[in-house]
């Protein structure tokens, strides 16, 4: 009798595997967890996109909770989510832009044409700060608290539902 139970072992293993596979099917394998959650924004010295003579560093970042958006004028989905960023800016949510691997001309043109939602735009044409942040593609949106600690990251284009369900709740937690 004991041996009979043993024969069901392969079937049980199969069941367990299938449960994991179903769980796995619901995931997007391309979403990588950020290693910087709970860590401060890395130290940096980068030019201001709007005024190249000015050097921005950590001390210029807002002293209140804010969003950090990684974008580039070459990136289709950054242009898609741009109007949403404009709306956020109108709601007086501070957004810091990180212009990622972009040509300065193109970036300035895009801001002139579509409006500038950013309180501050960091020029990261060579991807130096982005590399320290662990950016794996544009667009990316970070939620950062008043002490400059990264609390949340969203990789990919932000749309209305993601904004309402994920980003704003994270952000409002910090504000209160």
């Amino acid at each position: 009798m004991k041996r009979k139970v043993f024969l069901f072992l392969p079937l049980i293993v199969l069941l367990v595997i299938c449960i994991f596979l179903i769980m796995g099917l619901k995931q997007d394998p391309k979403k990588i967890a950020s290693a910087l959650i709970g860590k401060p924004v890395p130290e940096f010295f980068q030019a201001d996109l709007l005024d190249n003579n000015r050097i921005i560093s950590n001390k210029h970042l807002p002293k209140q909770p804010y969003l950090l958006n990684v974008w580039g004028s070459w990136c289709y989905y950054c242009q898609q989510e741009h109007p949403l960023l404009m709306e956020l800016a109108e709601q007086r949510i501070p957004i810091v832009g990180l212009n990622y691997r972009d040509k300065k001309q193109g970036a300035l043109e895009m801001l002139a044409k579509k409006g500038n939602p950013f309180a501050l735009v960091i020029d990261d044409s060579r991807g130096e700060l982005a590399m320290k942040l662990g950016v794996d593609g544009a667009p990316e949106t970070y939620v950062i608290d008043e002490n400059g600690v990264i609390r949340y990251r969203y990789s990919g284009a932000v749309d209305k539902t993601i904004l309402q369900k994920e980003i704003l709740p994270e952000f409002n937690k910090l504000r209160n």
């Binding site: 024969l7 079937l11 199969l14 796995g24 997007d28 394998p29 391309k30 979403k31």
Partner: protein, 641 residues
Amino acid sequence: MIPELGFIALLIALLSSFLLTLIPLVGMIKRNTNLLSYAWNFSYLFAIFSTISIACLAYSFSVNDFSVEYVAAHSNSQLPLFFKIAATWGGHEGSMLFWLFSLSLWTAAFAFFSRKIDPVFSARTLSILGFICLSFAIFILFFSNPFIRQFPLPPEGRDLNPMLQDIGLIIHPPLLYLGYVGFAVNFAMTLSAMLGGHVDAAIARWTRIWVLLSWFFLTLGIMLGAWWAYYELGWGGWWFWDPVENASLMPWLIGLALLHSLIVTEQRGIFSYWTILFSLFAFAFSLLGTFIVRSGVLTSVHAFAVDGERGTALLLIFFLLTALALTVFALKVNLRQSAVRFSVFSKESFLLLANVVLTIATVSVFLGTFYPMVFSAMGWGSISVGAPYFNSIFVPLLLIMLIAMVFVLATKWQKMNRTLLRQKSILLIPALLIAYLIIHFTVRQDESLRFHFSAFVLLSLAIWLLLATLWINWRKIGLRRSGMILAHCGVALAVVGAVMSGYFGSEIGVRLASQQSQMLNGYEFRYIGFTNELGPNFTSEKAHFEIYKNNQKLTALYPERRYYEVRTMNMSEVGIQWGVLGDIYIVMGDKLAPNEFSFRLHYKPFIRWLWLGGILMALGALVAAVSLVQRKKHHGVFIGN
């Protein structure tokens, strides 16, 4: 009109697979032999109509019918005709149809060759095969129909992915599918035998032919894929432990274990548990592989489309068939242990060890492939499992495997034979010496190379295996053993190739202007200049290299960078000088200045041995299958119940 015809053929194929499942089943329940005999008709019908279906798709490709969505997505009017036909299986929908087509070929082949054996067993097997056919036909119809039309008609197709525009990659998927799908036959046979209440030596021998053939195709397919990766991708590697590659490796390993387990079952009547489980899992892993490749649950370089719906459907098929088989196993398998006796130092023991190693290897590949997925499903974050992990698991396993292989040759069935054992063991001494000398001379060529102990051990064992396999009484060798000898020599040669190119390859990235040269591994690579070329659907820059050794010109090489306009993709064509002792391999990089490019230069020692080994392994399987067929003719082994 033609695409609709293909679709109707697909519908008829689906219907005949449904009847193929149902009618023999009814026949068995009602004990009506007349109904059983319909299994054969429906098998042929299914094969004919799936062939018509895929032929219609191929025809649509050949006449540039871009009103068919699938054709427009994978072809272009400028594509050479040969590639157009091959594009039939260049995307998801087409390759699933090809899957079904090869399944129908195997089913028809089984039907044809099983006419004379036990009709109940064969009809039951065909009915099970029919069920597999039916599930895939339904899948294609509802989730991946290649015949969907689109309006308005696009003026031009999006072209076949340039990476696939290569002879190696045209033959690679069909071979792989033939191998994958072939395991369905022995899966169905084993299931049928269990349902019939007995798995015995006769069935073991009968299934072995089918396993050998599937394994032959799978080996060729994998080897071709590795070879393609080597010369087309331009990284100098041939195996990347990518999920899609692992998907084909798992059934290969299990199939290999199954082959050996079948021999023991056939000769000695033991290990039948193993044999049954291997048999079921070989096909289960093929299904799992199809799931991995086609669902996109795992990130792969091969970048197939991610589609959750298809993934769920394929997972369902995998689960249904495997769960069915394992339930039958749990309920029907015979618990009686045969009382066969053998000593610790016997062929049986070492075959068992080899199978244990192959099983653990498969489990490790499975674990490494799916661990990242489980890891993030558990909410632990993201993780990668790649070559360094697999290598650290596989190197020790390969070591045990090679030793087990030598000892299988050095022992007899049942009992220990001291003289044979001593004779084979002595061969280790020359093997160590040869391995040392090979490594010594290779390392001397390039100052960046170092002596690796693990490479030395592996190489010695591989050479030991080669010597032990060849050191036999050649006059006694008939067709029967030559398959084994070929395949085992193939393993030894492949290991030599893999170890030498893996541990002792040298490479360097350089920037060269015309007439400049670079030394690597005792060769002088001189860049002469470049020309612009025009291909049928691409433009290219072609560099001209001359290779010198001791100031003597050996050869000229022409690495190339192609630009495919439709897909806006760059592809690099590697310049390779083949050699028995090693390959010279040049990849062309960016243009840095007029007439100045970056290049990566490689020297890959013994890499050719790897391909040779792979071909020998496949050939060994083929020869073994042929010898089995011949023996069957002489003895008429299979007796029905």
